[in-house]
């Protein structure tokens, strides 16, 4: 468990160093995710070893957004007189993006004859 967590943190650290060192537009944890993924492809045992810890962590992923969410509440006044327009823009564009993304995926899958599984 501790070793698993240390592994995740080490990859995050590696991602952070890579991001800053190379001036990449991606945050450290996202690069760390890519590096861990590549490492798992090279050493499949790594994925099997840390899976019990990552499963627990990801099952409660929602919880980790609560502190940032609470911070947002203090800034809701920034919506001010634009509140309704912003609400429509955010909800509307989220509906559009999910719809377009999912329909494109399914459309291309049918076009390329990939399996439905």
């Amino acid at each position: 468990m501790i070793i698993h967590l240390a592994t995740l943190l080490a990859f995050q650290l590696l991602g952070e160093v890579t991001s800053r060192g190379l001036g990449l537009p991606l945050p450290g944890p996202v690069i760390g995710m890519a590096l861990l993924f590549i490492s798992c492809v090279i050493w499949p045992r790594l994925a099997k070893t840390i899976a019990p810890t990552t499963t627990v962590l990801l099952a409660h992923l929602s919880l980790l957004f609560v502190p940032a969410g609470v911070g947002v509440v203090g800034h809701l006044d920034k919506f001010g007189s634009d509140g309704a327009a912003l609400g429509v823009a955010i909800i509307g564009s989220t509906v559009v993006a999910i719809t377009v993304g999912a329909l494109t995926f399914v459309g291309l899958r049918k076009l390329t004859g990939a399996s439905h599984d």
């Binding site: 861990l36 492809v41 957004f65 502190p67 940032a68 999910i98 993304g101």
Partner: protein
């Protein structure tokens, strides 16, 4: 006997209280979510955030004091993002088979998110500086904030839009995708990750493991694409 006020003075500034309350509020939200028969509108993040925000207001506690405790939870976002590699790897065969649909859906979903936000916002008369802050709202928070700053938006305003977008996606995804009749977990998860980053991904994992894995990929790829394309859209807006 110690006065309650004295105990409160100690507790209210100690990280322990707010850390405990953050976990308890989320636990309560999650219990309500399960009791509702897992209705997406009963979103545990939204419930916990609302409860804690009201509590901070009532007790006159600053966000800085709250965050001194809650930062331990917040910190775990980093390793949790790294951990997304594992379900991604477990779904490697699925991903290989769906490479082309994924790339197409990434571009379509990401551009739809940015253009529709700016388009709807402009049509409703929002100022350019607010539109700039809206562009990267579907990307994961650290990328969105960096992009917003780079294109001349307000990062703190973008932070509000990012979280609001995430919660919106988590709530509407299931009913919307059911309405569209899309049953492919890969398509469902991927579209949600592209449109509503980590909060959408967290929701996807509650529904289906494959959807969660694809959502994580969508989130990661959209972070990259947003960083590349948002400056171009911002250029058009300002030009």
């Amino acid at each position: 006997m110690t006065e309650f006020a004295e105990i409160w003075t100690y507790l209210s500034t100690d990280p322990l209280l707010w850390l405990t309350l953050t976990l308890a509020a989320y636990g309560a939200g999650d219990a309500l979510f399960k009791a509702s028969g897992r209705k997406p509108i009963v979103n545990p993040v939204l419930i916990a955030v609302a409860f804690l925000a009201v509590l901070l207001q009532i007790t006159g506690t600053s966000y800085a004091t709250y965050f001194a405790g809650a930062q331990f939870v917040h910190f775990m976002l980093g390793p949790a993002t790294v951990a997304l590699a594992i379900p991604l790897y477990a779904n490697l065969n699925h991903i290989k088979k769906a490479a082309l649909p994924m790339i197409a859906a990434l571009f379509a979903g990401s551009l739809a998110a940015m253009f529709s936000a700016v388009g709807i916002g402009a049509a409703l008369g929002l100022d350019t500086d607010i539109l700039l802050a809206l562009i990267p709202k579907s990307a994961t928070a650290p990328v969105a904030l960096g992009v917003s700053e780079a294109i001349g938006g307000s990062p703190s305003l973008t932070a509000v839009f990012v979280i609001t977008t995430g919660i919106t996606g988590a709530i509407i995804a299931t009913p919307l995708l059911n309405l569209l009749g899309i049953s492919d977990w890969r398509a469902r998860g991927f579209a949600v990750g592209v449109a509503s980053h980590g909060i959408g991904t967290a929701r996807a994992f509650q529904v289906n493991e494959t959807a969660g894995a694809f959502s994580g990929v969508g989130m990661g790829l959209n972070a990259l694409l947003t960083a590349l394309i948002a400056p171009i859209i911002a250029g058009w807006l300002l030009g």
